[in-house]
């Protein structure tokens, strides 16, 4: 039997007037998987989440949560998920405890013992009014309320903004528990370290389009080796090699980006009197940059 899909979207598209916020997103997230949804601000991450939650209606295409249509069967879909918004928007007049109970009662399914544990684990003081909490503490209310539902799907939009590093660690631990219990997690983020640490699979969104999708290992294949070479003097001319890029990083130094095996580069370098050579794998950070570029927004290197 196939694993039940927590999230399934098909050609999901959303236009706001002339702006295309999301363009043909097709995605499946099975239970037990932590899916990292990466992209810069304005790429369409939040739009995707609002479509998944049925807060906005797709222009075309469809999306469903455990086979319930996000728009038409929103309430049914919401019984099986818990959502954490990027900006914690709660009721300023309620206390933290009232807020947790309110969110719990509205969701209808709460593991109160686990909630107590989470309150302790996140070191949260629930006795203050929401308006008196810092952003990080308001974020904790949302996280505790969401995890305490033990929902089959967690939809998290930049959930750790405002949390200190210690709490990020707690957050990762709790995500691990949810996955262990068979929940699917949809984690939207622009923090690569977070995604690298907790996600099984990653999708990269750019200008409303999903440009890459795969496991961390698969995406690494897209990555290059970075080889920094220092010559005794002015770098000598080298024969052109397919896909290899060369960038001057010093008077006598060149950085090579090598998409495939490094053997041909080493062959070409032999006999040039290389002073030093350092080779490493491209980090996810650099992979990310190579997809979004820095200057023209297009900067795919080595291409």
């Amino acid at each position: 039997m196939a694993v039940e899909a927590a999230v399934r979207t098909r050609e999901l598209t959303k236009h706001f007037g002339p702006t295309v916020a999301l363009d043909g997103l097709t995605l499946t997230i099975p239970r037990g998987e932590v899916f990292g949804f990466l992209g810069p601000n304005g790429a369409g991450k939040t739009t995707t989440i609002r479509l998944l939650l049925g807060l906005q209606r797709p222009t075309s295409g469809s999306c469903s949560i455990f086979a319930s249509d996000s728009w038409a069967d929103a309430v049914e879909a919401h019984r099986r998920l818990a959502y954490v918004a990027g900006e914690p928007m709660l009721w300023p007049g309620l206390t933290g405890e009232e807020c947790l109970r309110f969110l719990g009662r509205l969701h209808g399914q709460v593991d109160t013992t686990y909630r107590e544990l989470l309150v302790t684990r996140f070191r949260f003081d629930p006795a203050k009014k929401v308006r008196d909490y810092s952003k990080g503490n308001r974020q904790k209310i949302q996280l505790i309320a969401a995890f305490a539902t033990r929902a089959d799907l967690l939809i998290l939009d930049e959930p750790t903004s405002g949390l200190d590093p210690l709490m990020e660690e707690v957050f990762r631990e709790t995500i691990g528990e949810a996955r262990g219990a068979g929940a699917a997690v949809f984690l939207s983020s622009h923090m690569l370290s977070e995604v690298e640490a907790v996600c099984d699979r990653i999708g990269i969104l750019r200008d409303g389009r999903l440009v890459e999708q795969g496991t961390l290992a698969e995406l690494r294949h897209l990555s290059q080796h970075v080889v920094d070479v220092t010559f005794p003097a002015e770098p000598p001319p080298l024969p052109a090699m397919e896909g290899v890029t060369a960038t001057r990083i010093g008077a006598n130094s060149v950085r090579f980006g090598v998409p495939g095996p490094v053997g041909p580069l080493l062959d070409a370098l032999s006999g040039t009197g290389v002073v030093s050579l350092a080779s490493r794998e491209q980090s996810l950070e650099e992979l990310f940059l190579s997809h979004y570029g820095t200057v023209d927004g297009d900067g795919a290197q080595g291409g």
Binding site: L53, G54, R57, H78, R79, M89, L90, W91, T95
Partner: protein, 531 residues
């Protein structure tokens, strides 16, 4: 960079108020123009005017609402009396709440975080907001002045100086009370607290003015409040520049005190705020509708107390005002209005407006829920859109019915205390009579919210204001009856003088239900506004 931040704060304060300010200024200008034109057309000859003046000169009901008339036999004198009396109260109420919104509201919503970042000092920020509020009062002043110049001065009925000064007397209480709102924002610990404190001060000023205008030998009380100063300015019937000095001194002193207090307190704190830990309670947190009831109780209490106070006063004067009207010969002109029941029916037109504004203010809470993103939090839970909006509308409906009936009962209590011969049934009937029109506006407002979420509550309030104004002005300018019937207020019968207008009242309720149902259906189908 500091200067840039101050400019930003000032413009931001102006921006969040611009729609409300436009509505208030437009209504004030229309009211000014309508009074000038209406008086001129209704009493074209000097003989008409003298007859009108002698009949109404000693009328206590008019004094209650507008103050003491000094010259009712000329357009200029009438404008002074009618415009300053009512518009100064409108300006005061607007000023105090605009200041709390711009200072405490924005602070509570965390929109002044640049202050925490140290880009701008608290004192400088508050100064910038108060400056913006002063400019806004200037806009209100210019709008009223323009209306008077165009309708009064152009026809030779008021001098340009009189037009400008009448407008100033109407708008200046807005300036002083904006500073009062600024001070309340520093003293109270929250937006709610600041609104309650500021609102209570406006109400107190109004009660003092009423006492000064109605009580024998209490005229000196007028020098105690900005509303009294506006009345004492008398730009047409004997300019008293002392009042102008008082406005300037009070406004600047309050503004200075606000800035001083602001620079001394912590962000989010209030000098009168208590620091006890709040108690958590699980009452009324089982559904979004229950939570709305929880928030509603305080709002309803504030409205019942403030509107109820007026109702008691109006009821309390019923006997003496109608008696006095009969003696003055007013009965020959105004007929049955001079009976106790007629007087109550006339007064309750104002409560129909108050209950309508109260009902419509709930649309503001819906907008607030959506624009802050709290609605997103709610609707991402297993909460159906239809039941959310229907629940909120049900709470607003129940609350409006309660307000209407309570106001009626309080007016009865006031009248009964003076043995005015008003039955408890009359009070309940007069109060209930305010409800259908209020629900009609609630329905229309909810449909506006569903269809145009970006327009905001200003549009819904403008519909109420326009309806009320048209009801006042339409007949004066001789509009045909089918055009008058466009205003929902046209279908509010003069209860308890007449019977409840069943076709009209049921028609209003039918519109309320139809627009409410349409709103729920439209809302269920539209995109949520981005937070």
């Amino acid at each position: 960079m500091d200067e840039g931040a101050e400019v930003w704060v000032g413009r931001h304060a102006f921006r969040i108020e611009r729609v409300r300010l436009t509505v208030v200024a437009a209504i004030a200008a229309l009211y000014a123009a309508a009074n000038v034109i209406g008086y001129r057309d209704t009493y074209p000859t000097l003989a008409d005017r003298v007859r009108f003046a002698s009949a109404f000169r000693g009328n206590l009901a008019l004094r209650l609402f507008y103050g003491v008339p000094h010259d009712l036999a000329s357009v200029a004198g009438y404008a002074e009396f009618r415009l300053i009396g009512l518009l100064s109260v409108v300006a005061a109420g607007w000023g105090v709440f605009a200041a709390v919104r711009a200072l405490r509201g924005e602070e509570d919503d965390g929109r002044y975080e640049l202050m925490q970042a140290g880009v701008i000092g608290r004192g400088a920020l508050v100064t910038a907001v108060l400056a913006a509020l002063t400019v806004e009062c200037g806009v209100l002043w210019l709008a009223i002045a323009a209306a008077l110049l165009l309708t009064g001065t152009a026809a030779g009925d008021l001098t340009a100086a009189q037009s400008i000064m009448v407008a100033a007397a109407a708008a200046l209480p807005g300036f002083v009370f904006a500073m009062v709102g600024g001070l309340a924002s520093q003293l109270a610990g929250s937006r709610r607290g600041a609104q309650a404190l500021g609102g209570a001060l406006v109400a107190a000023a109004l009660l003092l003015r009423i006492a000064a205008d109605l009580g024998r030998g209490l005229g000196g009380l007028r020098w105690l409040t900005p509303l009294g100063w506006a009345e004492n300015l008398r730009p047409v019937t004997g300019l008293n520049p002392k009042a102008l000095v008082l406005f300037a001194v009070a406004g600047l002193a309050l503004g200075w005190a606000t800035v001083v207090l602001a620079s001394r307190r912590d962000l989010g704190a209030g000098l009168l705020a208590t620091h006890r830990r709040p108690r958590s309670s699980q009452r009324l947190l089982g559904s979004p509708t229950q939570a709305a009831v929880r928030a509603e109780l305080l709002t309803l209490t504030v409205w019942v107390v403030s509107a109820g106070l007026f109702a008691v006063i109006i009821g309390g004067f019923a006997q003496s005002i109608s008696e006095q009207a009969r003696r003055s010969g007013l009965a020959r002109i105004a007929g049955e209005v001079t009976t106790v029941h007629g007087y109550l029916a006339l007064s309750f037109v104002l409560f129909a407006l108050a209950v309508s504004l109260f009902a419509t203010s709930h649309i503001g809470a819906l907008h607030d829920e959506e624009s802050t993103g709290r609605l997103e939090t709610l609707l991402a839970l297993p909460v159906a859109r239809r039941s959310w909006l229907a629940g909120r509308l049900a709470v607003a409906t129940g609350s409006s019915i309660a307000l209407g009936i309570l106001v009626g009962l309080l007016a009865w209590a006031g009248a009964a205390s003076q043995d005015a011969g008003v039955g408890i049934g009359d009070g309940i009937a007069a109060g209930s009579n305010c409800v259908p029109v209020a629900l009609c506006f609630l329905g229309i407002g909810s449909l506006l919210f569903a269809v145009w979420p970006r327009v905001g509550v200003g549009a819904a309030l403008a519909v109420v204001g326009a309806g009320f104004l048209w009801n006042l002005v339409g007949a004066l300018v001789g509009a045909p009856s089918w055009l008058l019937a466009v205003s929902p207020f046209d279908h509010v019968a003069a209860v308890p003088l007449h019977e409840f207008d069943y076709p009209g009242g049921l028609g209003l309720l039918a519109i309320a239900v139809a627009t409410g149902v349409a709103a729920v259906e439209v809302f269920a189908r539209r995109d949520l506004r981005l937070g």
